[in-house]
């Protein structure tokens, strides 16, 4: 059967500066998080409500993870689905600036308690995410024959909208703009939708495409890919009112706590399938992204185990419990997967843009386009992987020996983010260098 004679149009792909500005900003926010840990030390790891902990968490979730995910989504929609984000250049500029201002204001607001900073943060983040969600939703809705990846992205963006609305509501209460009676349940629901909805569903949707493509594994089984994202999303929708009912005193906490095992089971299924597919990959060579992903998948199981342990009476009331869960969810799973993906996305995009330009100029044999490994050498990526794993271990141990390990973990996070930044800059410089050679060739014709 003939499947296709047409492909993506080059005009659909956004300029490389669109995703790269997000990718370059992310490790800088990671560095700010490291700096915060170095300044505040154990204070940032005592309980989840400490101002330094809240600032640290949002520098990682919004600054590191959010930046990369927003940039990647703007790039992936045209590449994976053939549906470009409308007005992508002004949208990317506005979203990038507004989110950067908002994240900086939010972190400073938490640390200083200044109401004005909260107001600035809520306005900038609200506006930035509003533009992002509208632009992405238009691109997603234009796809006439959505596959399971697109369904996953649609549910992820809906989860992001929910997370942002809840975040703004909590922020308004936190800064005294409105009265807030249910701070704890609302914050947990905000967290649940952010991690199990937005981050998790996007990772699942993207994995369906990129794991078989880049890691040369068999495809994910259709009987899993079609219902999984929907099932997780549906269980989250039911979990939220159950949790609020606990907050109102209508239900024992055990009910929402057991219910949350359902979406978690979905993620365990996803992690198990991914690890099994990776076992069956065709090319058994060491791959940095694969190692980052394996770390993430193993930590999905570790988080479930931790959650099950929490049912032992008096475990969950320990402040260290929620901190450990947060560290493993954010650094063990989310940062591992997202960071690992960057090592495929960045060199691939750089190569793709250069190769396209080379073909358009018919400069084959005149200007050499570097391959993926030349754009992002394994040696450099591996160094950062080790720094990331060391950070994960040190953050975990810092909960037992906060002083001095909180400072050491901060140093390790700083090293990891510096290496990531240098690696992205190295690929960017190599891209610019070859792009200039192509421009010189064009001028000499």
């Amino acid at each position: 059967m003939t499947v296709s004679r047409s492909g993506l149009s080059l005009e659909q792909a956004p300029p490389i500066s669109v995703p790269f500005r997000f990718f370059l900003t992310a490790p800088i926010f990671g560095l700010l998080a490291a700096l915060l840990l170095l300044i505040y030390g154990p204070e940032a790891l005592t309980n989840r409500w400490a101002p330094a902990t809240l600032a640290l968490t949002h520098l990682i979730t919004l600054g590191f993870l959010g930046m990369i995910m927003c940039g990647a989504m703007m790039q992936m929609l045209p590449v994976l689905a053939g549906s470009p984000v409308p007005k992508v250049k002004p949208v990317a500029t506005a979203v990038h600036i507004l989110l950067t201002i908002g994240i900086l204001a939010l972190a400073s607001g938490f640390l200083s308690g200044t109401t004005g900073l909260f107001h600035l943060a809520l306005t900038a983040l609200g506006l930035g995410f509003l533009i992002f969600i509208i632009a992405i939703s238009i691109a997603l809705m234009r796809i006439r024959t959505p596959n399971d990846t697109i369904h996953g992205m649609r549910l992820a963006i809906t989860s992001l909208a929910t997370t942002v609305i809840l975040g703004l509501t909590i922020g308004a209460g936190f800064s005294g703009m409105t009265s807030l009676s249910q701070l704890i349940p609302l914050t947990d629901i905000h967290l649940g939708w952010g991690i199990l909805g937005w981050i998790g569903l996007l990772v699942i949707g993207v994995a369906y495409q990129v794991v078989p493509m880049f890691q040369l594994t068999p495809e994910y089984p259709k009987k899993l890919t079609t219902p999984l994202s929907w099932a997780i999303f549906a269980t989250l929708i039911i979990w939220a009112p159950l949790y609020l009912a606990w907050g109102n005193g209508h239900l024992p906490k055990l009910v929402p706590d057991i219910w949350i095992l359902l979406p978690t089971a979905g993620y365990i299924l996803f992690a198990g399938t991914t690890l099994r597919l990776q076992q069956k990959r065709r090319r058994r060579v060491s791959d940095i992204t694969l190692l980052f992903w394996r770390t993430g998948m193993i930590f999905i199981a570790a988080c479930l185990l931790l959650w099950l342990i929490s049912f032992i009476p008096a475990t969950k009331s320990q402040p260290a419990f929620s901190l450990l869960l947060g560290i493993w969810l954010l650094f063990g799973i989310a940062a591992s997967v997202v960071n690992g993906m960057l090592y495929k996305i960045i060199p691939f995009l750089a190569w793709f843009h250069l190769q396209n330009r080379q073909v358009a100029l018919m400069s084959m044999g005149k200007v050499k386009v570097p391959n993926m490994k030349e754009l992002m050498p394994d040696k450099l990526a591996k160094r950062q992987l080790y720094a990331h794993l060391a950070t994960l271990l040190l953050l975990t141990l810092a909960l037992i020996w906060p002083n001095p390990l909180a400072y050491v973990a901060g140093l390790s996070l700083g090293i990891s983010c510096t290496l990531l930044l240098l690696n992205i800059l190295q690929a960017t410089r190599r891209f610019q260098q070859v792009n200039q050679e192509l421009s010189d060739f064009e001028a000499s014709r």
Binding site: M1, T2, Q355
Partner: protein
């Protein structure tokens, strides 16, 4: 004449690199027969720019078969299996 190329065991963007390299070796009357495990949609705009015609079919040993030849090369085009 048929030139065979199996890119099914390669990681992106190597399949694209190999296909682009192989195209350069095609003489008049030649076509390239590529076996792949995925549809290489991202290469299509480049082929268009290079004046290459192609046809992609599901099937073959790896799931996808792509036939490529220079546009206007009627001999190569006529030799592509139906």
């Amino acid at each position: 004449m048929e030139h065979k190329l199996d890119v099914s065991g390669l990681e992106p963007p190597e399949p694209m690199e190999r296909i682009l390299q192989a195209i350069e070796t095609l003489n008049a009357g030649d076509y390239l027969y590529v076996t792949h495990r995925r549809e290489p949609r991202m290469i299509y705009p480049m082929l268009e720019n290079m004046g290459i015609a192609w046809i992609t079919r599901t099937g073959g040993p790896e799931g996808y078969e792509i036939f490529l030849w220079h546009k206007g090369d009627d001999i190569a085009s006529s030799e592509i299996p139906a």
